[in-house]
Symmetry: C2
Subunit: 429 residues, 2 copies
């Protein structure tokens, strides 16, 4: 636009020179001042930043990655720049998905795949991200517009489709399988799928796709009254899938589709959705960059600021066939996992013994060593779920039930943790 | 800009008519087509939404408040529209303050006062809100630009100043005192101050101002390694002020100003800052619209997804003179508070007895009534901090210490809760 305006000024100049009548020059002057005023206005139009080849840790105001690369110097992340290799798919670009997309974009993730079929409405303006001037655009187009302005280094793929349709599901699956971004990647073409949809049906579709592709994903949700929410990590075969533990509506025999009544407007708040998006992407970063502890489930009750956590094992009677397939694979791979864990422990053990955890102990804090007690406990081989003397179970325990249903593969059914502890003992003795 | 371009077309039209030479008309035509092209480009410039007089609960896509007004129908908030009466001051428009401002703007708060002296840099792009094209603008100007586009109904006041300077502090105080937005408001001109600054000195200045004005405020912060943060509610005289419990750096005798070394770049993440901003504004909404429980302190450890809470009473030996003044006032107002609490309890008691808490009990859940036990405990008048038989204290208890230092006003020093419990007992007997 600025070039266009400059050319207009030149045109006016030559037109002015060719006019004999000075009164007409006054008209030209007026036009010229208008063009100059427009040039001033145009200066405030978006100026995009250029792409950055390598993430630099240099501390200068012009470096968009300095505060992220500082995570390495602070000892939080081992190699922050690896984030550029990762692909994350976000299904549902609403109040949670759009903010999650913005956070990952600002963190400089390698590639984002965005899925939504909806359009931006003024009624969405009580949540973050979308702007009133984007009303009428598809959410995917509006998101790509904003995100590419914020960080041109992120590869954005937008899919304007409904994953619950047959055609939509096929495109969804094939886009997740596409490995052109990182051909040497194992498994699917993405590192994580984030489900940010607002209904049961769409969640079941994401669950189906991820079970089929053996794809780790995270689920998120916000309640209809806008004041609570949750995130959940789902690893096919290892944790419960979305169909393993049916939600309350299913337990009550209510079809959720009938709950989404015409004209009934759920409440929503930018705060709750911002918190859930933040917790979701924080756990995404921990998962991708391997730091901290990735929460298997984290709830948020905003009225009380209460954050429940829990862990859910897969249901051996899950109705989802692909889930049962993944559960079987996970059990069969147990010996290999154990060997890898043992090797890792052996490799790490000597270095841990070499130096104390905290070198400078300004406050003279000391910890009482109770490792002897622990070893005695472990040696007595008491099962974690053993009952106190005199008590019996009315129902078989979950582990016994699993042993019975797993038809003969008894040696792979021992609790992971206990097994590892025994191996550790054997190493120590 | 569109109006400007339309006037240019008219000017060219009349200029063209006044020219006798048809060859010059060609120049005019060229200019005309340029202006038309610019008009096309201008169409993609932001289109603002018009102001809304009353918040409507109507469920239509074009209503920016439908999802917020739904909080009333869902029984969360009694009167959502009251939010338009409230003024919130945000000190520090960085990674937390800018997102807090956007959330409150999208919630339709009445008036926002924004304070910052800094400019937008590319190095800020790893946090939400600011866009690359705003680099070089002051943070306050950039915020007003974005926020007024998002919601023109919010009254925005921007103060580009440093509150830690003498002149800045004076302007800060007088802007908080200004009651022109709601002349009948009691106390200061704002309902809440949110501190979103990044250093100890600025926090102490906010603390000083709020203690002087008897202004309730909330403090927020994110650690230098970007993976933890907190929010805290401070009510002068009632809770600890920021000077009551000196942070670690003060306890260690380290001057925090020396910690902010030149060239040392703290890490930051859009996730942690988004979560802290979300928790801060959620508690702001609970405080202003009177729902749920406002957390006195809430921490966020993102590596473990751990959220510690605590409550801090004011320090009777606080170094801040205004804090001691507020503590004295709070103690003297105790009889009035007790009377009000008693009246409220009496007014609410009968209606609570009339109907069961949950009318439909689909799952047949019943609660064992242990109210008899409780009443016996209360009747025995054992103090909550009494020691088991045979034990004595080495140091005087906190309550005894407070009694001694409060010079004679012994009857106002009884623990609030215990006092209320005794009144309740008297009512019940």
């Amino acid at each position: 636009m600025e070039a266009e305006l400059k050319e207009m000024l030149d045109d006016l100049e030559s037109l002015g020179r060719s006019l004999p009548d000075p009164s007409r020059n006054a008209s030209i002057d007026k036009l010229r001042s208008r063009v100059k005023h427009l040039s001033e206005l145009a200066k405030f139009a978006p100026a995009h930043r250029s792409k950055v080849k390598d993430m630099s840790a240099e501390v200068v105001d012009s470096n968009p990655y300095s505060r992220l690369m500082a995570l390495q110097r602070m000892g939080i992340v081992e190699n922050y720049e690896r984030i550029r290799e990762y692909s994350v798919a976000i299904v549902g670009i609403g109040g949670v998905g759009s903010v999650a997309a913005e956070m990952l974009t600002r963190c400089g993730v390698g590639r984002l795949l965005l899925y939504d079929y909806d359009k931006v409405e003024l009624a969405n303006m009580n949540r973050l991200f979308f702007r009133p001037e984007q009303v009428g655009m598809t959410k995917t187009d509006a998101a790509v517009q904003t995100l590419s302005d914020i960080n041109p280094d992120v590869v954005l793929e937008s899919y304007t489709l409904n994953i619950t349709t047959v055609q939509g599901f096929e495109t969804f699956i094939s886009s997740l399988k596409n490995k052109s971004f990182r051909p040497d990647k194992e498994g699917s073409g993405v590192d994580l799928v984030l489900s940010c949809v607002d209904n049961y049906e769409a969640r079941m579709v994401v669950n189906q796709a991820c079970n089929e592709l053996n794809q780790t994903w995270m689920e998120s949700g916000v309640s209809e009254d806008a004041v609570s929410g949750h995130i959940q990590l789902l690893i096919p075969g290892e944790t419960a899938c979305f169909a393993c533990a049916p939600p309350l509506v299913v337990a009550s025999g209510v079809d959720e589709r009938t709950l989404k009544r015409e004209g009934v407007c759920a409440a929503s708040l930018p705060t709750t959705m911002g918190v859930i998006a933040g917790l979701l992407v924080q756990n995404t970063l921990k998962f991708l960059l391997k730091f901290g502890h990735v929460s298997p489930y984290l709830g948020y009750n905003s009225l009380k600021d209460y954050f429940p956590t829990m862990e859910m094992r897969p249901n051996p009677q899950c109705a989802n066939a692909a889930c049962l397939e993944r559960q079987k694979e996970y059990m069969l791979a147990k010996p290999a996992r154990d060997a890898a864990a043992k090797a890792k422990m052996e490799a790490e053990a000597p270095s841990a013994a070499e130096c104390p955890l905290h070198d400078d102990n300004e406050w003279n804090i000391s910890v009482v060593d109770d490792s002897d007690t622990k070893r005695t406990d472990a040696a007595s081989s008491v099962r974690a779920d053993a009952l106190p003397e005199g008590l019996t179970r009315e129902l078989p325990s979950a582990d016994e039930f699993k042993n019975a249903s797993a038809s003969g593969s008894a040696d792979t059914n021992i609790d992971d943790l206990e097994d590892l502890r025994k191996q550790l003992e054997a190493l120590n003795s």
